[in-house]
């Protein structure tokens, strides 16, 4: 190992290199300039200059979600740090492993309201897994080691390292030693399988008549998709995924019921409501799933596998809590089931699967809308997603922003692989789509990366089009343009008598084609259904270009199904004039 003398800034970059980091996103400024100079003088870690710090953190987050490796962002003090906050909160809510390094004013100026000073540790405290304020340059290697360890183990999450400028001073050098292991008495996340209740779980599985496997983002984060799929196949149990869990079980598999929850499919929500056993894996029973928790799946026993002890029995009591790695615990469960040569109630299970099929036939999503052509002369947003799915053979990475387009993408693009679908599920951050797509595209330069967005969300981080030109990122932006903040407008239609308070733009939208072209990319406008498929083909075929496909969609379309608040999961609106109760 390189033990030569290094400055704090050099030690920081070298520590990142030793953690396997070869790419970071950031934006320079006064308090970070020593660090930027150290970046200039080395070849291990590439730096991507974004156009706004929020973009840097989302890009690092997208990179982490797509690869499973920790993402890294570097920002300066004050406004650099506060601009990173939305990105941190986004990563915190979805438990993604990122490390954000912020420059801080010199240590002797801390607390004096000096120029560009913000208490980053204080401001970020509730939205990080942990944070470090560097107190000595010599501590930097040890802190970097701990930060990556904390970010990437247990329930993953963002970690902040705040470094006062004097501790990166190039004039002050010290002997560089990178620790080989981390030893923290106060941090011992569950590792491996929790086998203490596996036999009881298997007993419940053996006698279940109406079981559901409900899995979430934890399965993707823990790379447990293979094990989850193996369990479902072994048992022939129906599977549903949360918004964060899509891709953990193949979306095009007949055993898959689709997403559940607020805008989940009819069959997935009905199956949850009527189940007698719910096997929850890496999911946290949040309010977008359970609807009223007091009326949630009352006849079901719950097996809850999660690495975070605080998530188990937080909202819904777990009859069988299993606190450990999803991957290892699922493996242990599969072994247990195989060892007893398990016989499930096969006739009951096939009857249950038949019931689910009937629900699907009655009110499932229509995945053939594209073949139906224009609807009242308009393009349905769902048809655009189906066209994207068709032209990318279901193999693209899809990032999204937040709103109706996000739900349409989740419902209509069948994700067969984990880490293929990247969106801000927990925080619901508009502006996440484009910068996160940059992180994905840089990690997988040869893959098709599309960003499904709306004319509202895309304008929240549109400045990153410039970053995409600088680094040649051929992202396919699919803009479902309904000339309104669609989800807000939908709620206003449903609950506020159609009073569209501040959800439309009164003809003030930019010409997105001209805008994209001024950034040096390709823009394509689609306003007629007949143009949709050829334009989508062209968009995907321009391999080396960023393409902004601006599609005028039916502005009156709503997202359905939709759970009726304050009720059980079987209370759904199925269209503007159909409901289940």
């Amino acid at each position: 190992m390189d033990k030569s003398n290094k400055s704090g800034a050099e030690a920081l970059i070298h520590s990142l290199h030793l953690e396997g980091v070869d790419l970071m996103f950031g934006y320079p400024g006064g308090a970070a300039l020593h660090i930027y100079d150290a970046i200039f003088n080395q070849n291990y870690v590439d730096h991507i200059l974004v156009r706004h710090e929020q973009g840097a953190v989302h890009a690092a987050d997208g990179y982490a979600r797509a690869t499973g490796k920790p993402g890294v962002a570097l920002v300066t003090s004050g406004p650099g740090a506060t601009n990173a906050i939305t990105g941190l909160a986004t990563a915190y809510m979805d438990s993604t492993p990122i490390v954000v390094i912020s420059g801080q004013v010199k240590s002797n100026l801390i607390g004096t309201d000096s120029f560009q000073e913000t208490d980053m540790i204080g401001v970020s405290r509730p939205i990080v897994k942990h944070s470090f304020l560097v107190q000595r340059a010599e501590d930097i290697p040890d802190i970097v080691k701990k930060a990556f360890h904390i970010a990437t183990t247990g329930r993953k999450g963002p970690v902040v390292i705040d470094i006062p400028k004097d501790f990166t001073d190039p004039e002050y050098k010290f002997e560089f030693n990178y620790p080989t292991e981390v030893n923290m008495r106060s941090y011992n996340p569950p590792e491996g399988a929790d086998t203490s209740r596996i036999k009881e779980a298997a007993d419940l599985i053996a006698t279940a008549k109406r079981p559901v496997i409900y899995s979430g983002g934890g399965v993707n984060q823990n790379n447990a998709s293979e094990e989850l799929t193996a369990l479902a196949k072994l048992l022939n149990f129906p599977v549903t995924n949360t918004l964060m869990g899509l891709g953990a079980f193949p979306g095009s598999d007949p055993q898959f019921m689709g997403m559940l929850g607020m805008h989940g499919t009819y069959q997935a929500n009905m199956a949850m409501h009527n189940a007698d056993l719910i096997i929850a894996v890496g999911a946290r029973f949040d309010d977008r799933i359970t609807n009223d928790p007091n009326q949630f799946a009352l006849s079901a026993k719950k097996i809850h596998i999660d690495v975070d002890p605080a998530s188990v029995s937080k909202i819904i009591h777990a009859d069988i809590p299993i606190v450990g790695s999803a991957k290892e615990s699922l493996t242990a469960l599969i072994e247990e089931l195989k060892s007893r040569d398990l016989k499930t109630n096969e006739s009951d299970i096939s009857e249950w699967n038949e019931q689910i099929k009937n629900w699907r036939d009655a009110h499932g999503l229509n995945h053939s809308l594209l073949e139906m052509g224009a609807q009242n002369g308009k393009i349905l947003p769902q048809q655009v997603i189906q066209s994207l799915y068709k032209e990318t053979n279901g193999e693209a990475f899809v990032t999204s922003d937040v709103g109706q387009h996000q739900m349409f993408a989740a419902q209509y693009y069948h994700f067969d692989k984990p880490r293929q679908w990247i969106n801000s599920g927990g925080l619901g951050t508009m502006g996440f789509g484009l910068p996160s797509a940059m992180g994905v595209q840089l990690a997988y330069p040869e893959s098709i990366v599309s960003c499904v967005t709306g004319e509202g969300s895309i304008q929240m981080c549109i400045q990153e089009l410039s970053t995409c030109l600088q680094y040649g990122l051929p992202i396919k932006i699919i803009n479902l343009n309904n000339a309104a903040l669609g989800m807000v407008k939908q709620w206003q239609d449903m609950q506020y008598g159609g009073r569209h308070s501040s959800s439309t733009y009164e003809n003030s939208l930019p010409d997105f084609v001209a805008l994209t072209e001024s950034y040096g990319h390709v823009g394509i406008k689609v306003s007629k259904f007949d143009e949709l498929e050829s334009a989508m083909k062209e968009c995907i075929s321009l391999k080396d270009k960023l393409v902004f496909l601006d599609v005028d969609v039916d502005p009156n379309e709503h997202v359905y199904p939709m759970l009726e608040a304050g009720n059980a999961m079987d209370h759904m609106r199925l269209s503007k004039d159909e409901k289940t109760w």
């Binding site: 405290r125 509730p126 304020l133 008495r185 106060s186 975070d308 002890p309 605080a310 937080k314």
Partner: protein, 159 residues
């Protein structure tokens, strides 16, 4: 029901704000909070009392345990434990209730003011305050509850 939770945390800057911040962030109420270094200088012990049902307290202890700076958490009220609180009361000489306190309670005295000290459970102190209320104490200061388990269980770590 009143619950007493005790924890050991790393004695370093920022640790306390993480614990206190967690309470406001997650909407839990803290009734009393006491924090001091332990005989192991790298650790602080923090004792808090809170109102909440069993489910809420279970969530609080789990969330506290998740904080990276927290080494160990225990819900003392889960089993038998001793709870004590210190109270200091200031009286003017004229209003001092001689029938309530004896000489051993008095910690300072001059020609105008008498300060007394009382140690007891929080409810004993509550009761005492209600009894002396008519005597117009000038000031009452309470330390908040400390707790220790009654049996062989300890909240310590081996170094």
């Amino acid at each position: 029901m009143k619950r007493v939770i005790a924890l050991l945390m790393e004695n370093q800057p920022g640790a306390l704000s993480r614990v206190v911040g967690l309470f406001s962030q997650r909407g839990y109420n803290i009734e009393t909070l006491v924090v001091a270094p332990t005989n192991d200088a790298t650790l602080s012990r923090l004792t808090m009392s809170t109102e909440g049902d069993e489910k809420v307290v279970e969530q609080i202890t789990k969330q506290l345990d998740k904080l990276i700076d927290v080494v160990m958490v225990t819900n003392l009220s889960e089993s038998e434990f001793v709870e004590r609180e210190l109270m200091l009361i200031k009286f003017t000489k004229d209003s001092f209730p001689e029938n309530v306190f004896d000489e051993s309670n008095i910690v300072s005295k001059n020609n105008k003011i008498i300060n007394v000290q009382v140690v007891g459970t929080s409810s004993e102190l509550d009761k005492l305050i209600s009894e002396i209320d008519t005597n117009n104490p000038v000031e009452i200061v309470r330390s908040g509850s400390l707790g220790i388990s009654s049996d062989e269980k300890t909240l310590t770590i081996e170094n």
